[in-house]
Subunit: 383 residues, 4 copies
Amino acid sequence: MIKRLNYGMVGGDLNAFIGGVHRVAASFDGRTQLAAGCFNPNAEPNKECGEFLGLDSDRVYKDYVEMAAKESAREDGINFVTIAAPNNMHYLVAKTFLLHGINVLCEKPLSFEVSEGEELKKIANEKGLLFAVNYAYSGNNMVKEARELVEQGVIGDIINVNAEYLQEWLIDDIGAGDNTMNKLSVWRKDPKLSGSSNCVGDIGTHIEHTVSYITGLKVKRLAAKMDYFGQPLDLNANILVEFDNGSHGVFSSSQVCVGHMNGLVVRIFGTKGSIEWVQENPNILSVTLKGKPTQIYNRGMSYVSKRSAQMSRIPSGHPEGLYEAFANIYKVWVNANLKKLNGDEFSKYDDDFPSIDDGIAGVKFVHACLASNKNGGNWVDVD
Amino acid sequence: MIKRLNYGMVGGDLNAFIGGVHRVAASFDGRTQLAAGCFNPNAEPNKECGEFLGLDSDRVYKDYVEMAAKESAREDGINFVTIAAPNNMHYLVAKTFLLHGINVLCEKPLSFEVSEGEELKKIANEKGLLFAVNYAYSGNNMVKEARELVEQGVIGDIINVNAEYLQEWLIDDIGAGDNTMNKLSVWRKDPKLSGSSNCVGDIGTHIEHTVSYITGLKVKRLAAKMDYFGQPLDLNANILVEFDNGSHGVFSSSQVCVGHMNGLVVRIFGTKGSIEWVQENPNILSVTLKGKPTQIYNRGMSYVSKRSAQMSRIPSGHPEGLYEAFANIYKVWVNANLKKLNGDEFSKYDDDFPSIDDGIAGVKFVHACLASNKNGGNWVDVD
Amino acid sequence: MIKRLNYGMVGGDLNAFIGGVHRVAASFDGRTQLAAGCFNPNAEPNKECGEFLGLDSDRVYKDYVEMAAKESAREDGINFVTIAAPNNMHYLVAKTFLLHGINVLCEKPLSFEVSEGEELKKIANEKGLLFAVNYAYSGNNMVKEARELVEQGVIGDIINVNAEYLQEWLIDDIGAGDNTMNKLSVWRKDPKLSGSSNCVGDIGTHIEHTVSYITGLKVKRLAAKMDYFGQPLDLNANILVEFDNGSHGVFSSSQVCVGHMNGLVVRIFGTKGSIEWVQENPNILSVTLKGKPTQIYNRGMSYVSKRSAQMSRIPSGHPEGLYEAFANIYKVWVNANLKKLNGDEFSKYDDDFPSIDDGIAGVKFVHACLASNKNGGNWVDVD
Amino acid sequence: MIKRLNYGMVGGDLNAFIGGVHRVAASFDGRTQLAAGCFNPNAEPNKECGEFLGLDSDRVYKDYVEMAAKESAREDGINFVTIAAPNNMHYLVAKTFLLHGINVLCEKPLSFEVSEGEELKKIANEKGLLFAVNYAYSGNNMVKEARELVEQGVIGDIINVNAEYLQEWLIDDIGAGDNTMNKLSVWRKDPKLSGSSNCVGDIGTHIEHTVSYITGLKVKRLAAKMDYFGQPLDLNANILVEFDNGSHGVFSSSQVCVGHMNGLVVRIFGTKGSIEWVQENPNILSVTLKGKPTQIYNRGMSYVSKRSAQMSRIPSGHPEGLYEAFANIYKVWVNANLKKLNGDEFSKYDDDFPSIDDGIAGVKFVHACLASNKNGGNWVDVD
């Protein structure tokens, strides 16, 4: 029985914070080994990163095409690749590895165009490969608890959703024109690198996915007002949504809301109760049943479901954070890859990672927001 | 110099909770005396209420028309009337008292139709009478502080608004058809008594007013999705708004969101900072300046502005609540009435009560929501 | 059947904030009428106050001795007196009114000396008079809920108590010697006016009473460290306590803890659960049962007990505050006085106001703290 | 220049949660490599753990004495050892490795007896070895910020401390006698394994250390009441403390406070301001300056000090938790070890890990609590 996996990484050199998060997260449970990488198209930082990570120098590749080819040819080649390269590379890199028969865990967005995402799905299906899109917040322990509570019918039928993802870090871009002071934000506002949306594409999609993951609902139609404040891409968006069960809700997404660092907040209202989850205090889930006091669920307590309980690594009251959310994505992903390799049957928890369908839904969501906004903010269909 | 005012009340008998709140609130500062009333059109509860309140029996009137006529004829007649009768009576009662030369403090909504509100304004102006509409939440001490901070430019230009008013008390009406279990809600769902909207009309307008009071902005256009869940009037609404300065925001209004008792929350985002106020913990105001930690303002502290400081009755840390919000409305209202009587000049704080223009804006807002919703939730102008 | 009571007030003129709170609180339910007063020993402010409040001039008395004598001689004399005079007057005023057969509601502290409190109790008992000591925080709706939960055994046997009352308003007195900048605090630091303790006497006793009211436990022994920071009376105190059931706890009391306005917080831990109440957000009670999520109780909801439910005046989610806490003390007190007058039987809720025994316990508690502190902070018996 | 360290581990096999936390934490920054271990005295789990972790089989030792001897003899031997064995082993294991010239990072408690700790210190000093005691909470980013704020004088002189560490997990042991249902707690209540105190020894010392780390103050005298509830070791303790600057405070430590999972809360009050840190929401620090609103500091923002800023791995608003606290201990520890190896000069941040003096202070604190409690809870000196 195979118990451990080799994996590779594209992008994510020592200067890219997200690469390090992936590597630590993948290592939490001791079941993966980073074996190959192409961390940067420039030779120097690529080599430096490979050395720092202790990789064999012949598995630090100068480009991802070579990496996919050589790794797929090795007996001990990587089982999956993590794609942490810039957004505009996701589709190309993913396609290359899929075509070489290697499973893919890709950072979001899956792609810029819907058709690209669907093409990736088609290839993965044909090749029988696993594909995950790293909507990392859905890895949070109490997000999983929320999903389970909804699935068990604890809060009844969903009748309203109020969700938001507010940040403040681009506030200085308002009115700054090209002279943005925020270096980090430069690539995010370049459509070539970032895609056709900045705020909705970067964080609005996390609202869409987290809500969808918890509720199982899909956004069917929406009306979006996106604010650009003189920049080429959006910095702020307010979105009315209609779900496929006919209920409504509102998503607010912003990078210019002072006072909010990384405020993903999801509130789901049902006929029998409601749940609220706040990313900045993620070990807590507020659950209210109709006519009862609000209950403050804590991660890891005896009353939580198996879905979340099995994801806890440390006792209740000891905070888990972003790394653990990533690590939970990897935990399920590695479970699935190992079961596939070992020919084991999947349980309902084993495909509990964000899928390529989730990735495609995210791309569609962004395009629908842009279409609505262009259309004066009136309603458009997502599909 | 006149220091104390006689006033009368229409509606608000001993069984109507709002009448008692008005009476206690009006008495907080010892400058008003309830002198006349028509508390209920039925003789028995009307008399009982008048007796309990210690009124002279000849000033407990069998109908408001008689009351307006007789009080206006007395030398010691009431200076103003508080209208706490059912919604469908507001316009008629207000008009009657205005025509008899008596100032009016009217519960919201001002009227069902915009034209009615405008007629009342015309009469009040012609007669030189004062008119307040009791958007009571704007009386909260820290709402006044918020208004002052915005007025002083502390948070810069407004770029986004996120506000909500969530309640849960009508949750059992979903799917209950005519068999609503919630007796209290019956009249609220009867268009004849309640007007053409329930949820937006009752609480959505408080969002609109509180935001407008704090920011000075007016809603220019909106897109609303209202949910009826099988009832004749709306129980839930999500609304995108565009303000007259071009910025956008979202208002969520609901009576079916389990876990929320009376959740009016207003968040105002500007180019230099933001403020957040939560009605259920009203002595606090969160203020964040760009690049700085969030600051938790407490009512009555040395750092607050004169506008709010002068409204504090008890030291910081001793909670003030709904009664004090009402009492603050009365405080300003009585100030204005006394100044008018005594021929004193108004300061900027003396017309700081919700005006008839605010009342008309509220009626327009409700009608615009209904029009948008009827039109598939697409955008409509408010005016 | 008598439905309304006349009452009088000693102290509490227009400049004393506590007098106004008493008057508004007494009026909340419309069952009392202020009929007489001696608000200030100086003629001018006394007269001004009486006039402002609309009293008959012959019932505005120049001293409380005359007031007690004349009111007790009138057929329509006051039923009870509220004592809101400075601390050093409480015993003398209370004794005078008791001896004239008038019921007493006295601000805390009941007296400076234990023997004085016991003398008052003896007189009240002999005369068959009612006596309340205004530990106002115990009037809070959710404090009553807490008491009921403990009484019903919901949290089991008490095993630990953690309570505090932290304020910051005297921070500038540290190191200021006689040159205190805080005018308000001058009398509080004068042993002649304030008694032998400032911080423990003023607010520490509220901890002791609130805990005792909720749990039914009495402090049997204690060890106290009081900090004076160069002032004649204490500004800060940390106290270990042992209750009469053998369990322990800690009380922290301070007027120099920056960041705390009026932070009375009570946490009671039992073998089956725990409760937490925070005065600055008083409409909430946190209740945790062993092995279950913490539950956030809201005032006035269907799940609360009769003891608290009957004290709610406005719907859940509409904040009640300090005035309502006072008003609840009056509500129960007036119930008791009316029942006594009408010869009705008392229910368990009718003596649910802080009693003279509570007042005596408070005086003993202060003396025990002083004795322990003098003794190096070692343990002393309270009785 | 040496950039990476080999280390070993004693204790912490695959079933011991703390071992895994250490290994992940040590790996966060990619500068350590686990190279040797003796994870369990039993051969099977020891071997299994070594294999799972990919160690060379000849560096998985059957006992720690052999491990110390052989590793110290290797050219590529470990640079330091992490001791995660049961409490009763700490002293012996640490001594063994020190005597073989290997630096030690030891879980707390350092030892059972003060003399043992002092002996370890003497050896480490004589050998010129580094020694850390893993008071992990002091690794929290915002605890470091708190330390810096106090050091910079932002809150002035410390005048009061209110700190607590409340848990609930042993509540079922009350009254259970020997039949404790909580398996996990068995060894904690066995004096041979756990030392002479359970609650104070396990978590009370974290209060003592965190307060000391933040403030620089030492506990000079204390009065402790410890509750055993029929068990051989304490489950609950309330402690008055006097610091070496003459100020006082209170520490509450409990494993039977229902509603608290891992509630380490530290509040430090000074003449100019105060700070509050709550372990369960660790990315936040509340800072109040005299006369100003409370400020909510967020980890990683531009306004924080270098001491905390350099510890942030991910952007503000992305929660860091327990693993990161451990990882920060390792970060500083590895810095120090590398600087020592490379002969670099230490900055003020390089010995910013909990030292052997801190470990000794912890042992003294526990003994003082036991002595006071035995003495009726009266005051005893710590030294």
